[in-house]
């Protein structure tokens, strides 16, 4: 299975245009800069986080049936939705931070932390792995739990 990675090198100023094994091309890396994009200093931390996140995105090919749209078309179409979901997550974290009390010891927070960390991995297959973060383990020897 081929994986095409977006590069976070645009943050460090390295030029990078990735050519996919399937012959397509992805314009990432510092090509954002080539296109005239210059992040303001105050935004660099945010961009660093976003860059690390983007660096993990891969487009799978060689699957039984690939998407009819190219990676570029998908990114163009989904970018704002993607962005909105990330900001929504960030805003919810802010809300938790502002609220009275602490939930650090709540095991669900550990699940959320593991979920967020997963997004920055480069392993691919994110949705399935994310589901497993929120799933109970299965023991083939265990034939049903206690009845309430």
């Amino acid at each position: 299975m081929n994986r095409f990675f977006l590069s976070s090198s645009w943050l460090s100023g390295e030029a990078e245009i990735a050519t996919t094994p399937a012959g397509g091309s992805l314009i990432f890396g510092s090509d954002f800069r080539k296109l005239g994009y210059r992040p303001r200093p105050s935004m660099r931390r945010f961009h660093a986080s976003l860059g690390r996140f983007l660096a993990t995105i891969s487009i799978l090919s060689g699957a039984p049936m690939s998407s009819p749209l190219s990676a570029q078309e998908i990114l163009d179409r989904e970018f704002l939705t993607f962005r909105a979901k990330l900001i929504e997550l960030a805003a919810t974290l802010d809300r938790l931070d502002r609220a009275e009390g602490a939930v650090d010891d709540d095991p669900r927070c550990d699940q959320l932390r593991r979920g967020l960390e997963l997004l920055t991995s480069r392993d691919g297959n994110w949705a399935e792995q994310m589901q497993m973060v929120f799933s109970l383990p299965f023991d083939s020897e265990q034939k049903g739990g206690a009845s309430s």
Partner: protein, 267 residues
Amino acid sequence: MRFIDPHIHIASRTTDDLATMARMGCVIVGEPAFWMGYDRTGVNSFHDYFRQLTEWEPKRCANYGISHYAWMGLNAKEAENVGFAREVIAELPAFLDRATVLGVGEIGLHKCTKNELTTLEALVDLALSRGEQMLFHTPHLEDKYKGTRMILDLLAGDSRTDPSRVCIDHCEEHTIRLALEAGHWAGMTLYPTTKVTPDRAANMIELYGPDRILVNSSADWGPSNPFAVPDFIFTMQRRGHDPELIQQVVYDNPVKFMQQSKNFTLA
């Protein structure tokens, strides 16, 4: 595009919903027996509900040109009381003989308890002893993976099981492969908050292909959308998928699956 919703709780839907579904292209629905949102207190309540699914709802749907089929079963949420469950299961054979019943469903697990499993084993035995198709509910949220594995183990352990006549429903990213690799049909339920969105369903079809995949709304009395299958069609169209492929998923596949029941006929 005409479509089939192979899992929808018509008993919870208004006639306005049925009219809109018909206008959007719905021609056939499958309605599994389900939990009513509260536990029933007697076997007669189940008896009346099974009558509703085999007598009244087919008539309501027919008014809008929709063919209605049903699945008879005892849901996992009411399976904890094993003795009571046995009484309900004893009612099932008479309804399984009715003309619009496709098989035993939706059955499965909820919290994956020993009692749920005991009741499920009785339901599976009933289905297999009669040569019925089966439609499985898989648990929600953190219980889904474990419950799906338990169901698949149960089926694999019975040599009478024909995987191609079983649908493992409410599959998500972490369970769809398990169902397909075991040779079963995999249902994806399009729900507003839990289960799967149209986009995630489309992702999984792109990953696993369209064979042995069913998509449904499972629209019921809770937050759900009886027009979820048309939403899925629209999503697939926006992604540029061929109409033939979309039709395979929303019409040809359900026909292929349901046709394995002696009671299913295409009008």
